[in-house]
């Protein structure tokens, strides 16, 4: 079966892979999911999603054609953006932090005069205590902008949620 999977996987697109592995797992019955995942190296979540899609397809909930009408395999916005999610994960794991929901954990500082930018980490304790909006925004202004800056609202703008 290992050979069967290794032959088939490269020939299929993402959705077809999910459906293929799901149908294999279903055929194997109890323990099938674990075995299929071990051999293929796919995450159980992926195969479980395939099972759901397979069930939906068979029950007529989802169209049978394997790509969306415009030929996309992934949903719009799906998949990884180069250098985005993975790099954040690496950064957080390497610094021993855990991700927390609702935040990407980064602040982008743009200097329009020098046309430069800098990405800084938003420490979790700061996010937890200040949350966002005018609270976090004033904290950033207070820290970054010297007192008595003339034309402060022209020279500084902080964009946050809230």
């Amino acid at each position: 079966m290992e050979e069967h999977i290794k032959t088939m996987i490269p020939l299929l697109n993402e959705k077809q892979r999910r459906l293929f592995l799901a149908s294999l797992a279903n055929t194997l019955g109890r323990g099938g999911l674990k075995l299929v995942c071990e051999i293929s190296g796919f995450s159980p979540h992926t195969v479980i999603r395939g099972k759901q899609e397979l069930a939906d397809t068979l029950s007529g909930l989802e169209p049978v054609d394997l790509a969306s009408p415009d030929g996309r395999i992934r949903k719009v916005g799906g998949g990884r953006t180069p250098g985005s999610r993975d790099s954040i994960k690496t950064e957080y794991y390497s610094e021993g932090r855990s991700m927390y929901g609702g935040y990407n954990g980064k602040l982008l500082f743009i200097n329009l005069t020098n046309q430069t930018y800098e990405v800084r980490v938003l420490p979790e304790n700061v996010a937890r205590e200040y949350i966002g909006g005018p609270s976090l925004g004033t904290r950033i202004l207070f820290d970054e902008m010297p007192a008595n800056t003339p034309l402060m609202f022209v020279l500084w703008a902080v964009l946050l949620h809230g």
Binding site: Y100, G101, G102, Y103, A127, R128, E129, Y130, I131, G132, G133, P134, S135, L136, T138, R139, L141, F142, A147, N148, H161, G162
Partner: protein, 257 residues
Amino acid sequence: MESYCEGLFTLDELDGIDLKWGNADAIAAMVEKICRNEGIGAILAKGSRYAAHYFNRGFDFLVTASGIELPQHDAKFSPGLARTYQYDPTPGRHVKGGLSIQYGNEPPEVRYDYSNTGKRDVDGVVGQEIENLSGFCFMSGFTLVPDSKIRYIEAVTGWKYTVEEAYNIGLRSYTMRHAFNLREGFFRDHWDLPDRITGQNGKMQTKGPHAGVVVDSVRLANNFFSELGWNLDTAVPPREWFEKLNMADVADKLGVI
């Protein structure tokens, strides 16, 4: 408009716009001039207090808190708004915390009793700060059960807050915004509110539902700052206040020892 109706300005000074009460076309024409920064519009675009200083007249007609135009909600109806309008770090806004507009629905013996408003005022600030800093709809105050905003924040972030930590989020937000002003040199005596709003110094209304109402804005603010434990003369929090909120570095920068 009121100044013009009272004869303080000539038609020429308003670039020929007949700003009579009820003249909607004149309002539209003046708004356009303000937006385009043209003629009289360039002066009014900087606010009514700036215009009063520019022409050196019309101060009695100003409806501003520290130079910022007030919203429609009158402090004579809901007295707590006087404290919010005057002393919120961004003054003159009804979307900032305090006893709130709803306080005006209390019976007169409650809302015009200035003896003990501090706790409720501070609670209102905390709730409003949490609403504002997390981007909740202002109307959530009417529709969500108490405490639910912090539960929503917990659900999104995965953090857990104790009751005290949650309350401190609101206090910290208010303190941070207040500290910004302190650093820029704005202490308690900087913030003003015209007598027209409070009815003080003989400026009370003589007709209508609020005839004779005088809002004790000083007492309201004293109650508020006392409840917080801040200095009543300067509105500067003590060092322990900053330390309680994990903001000792802010106290350092302000020179609070």
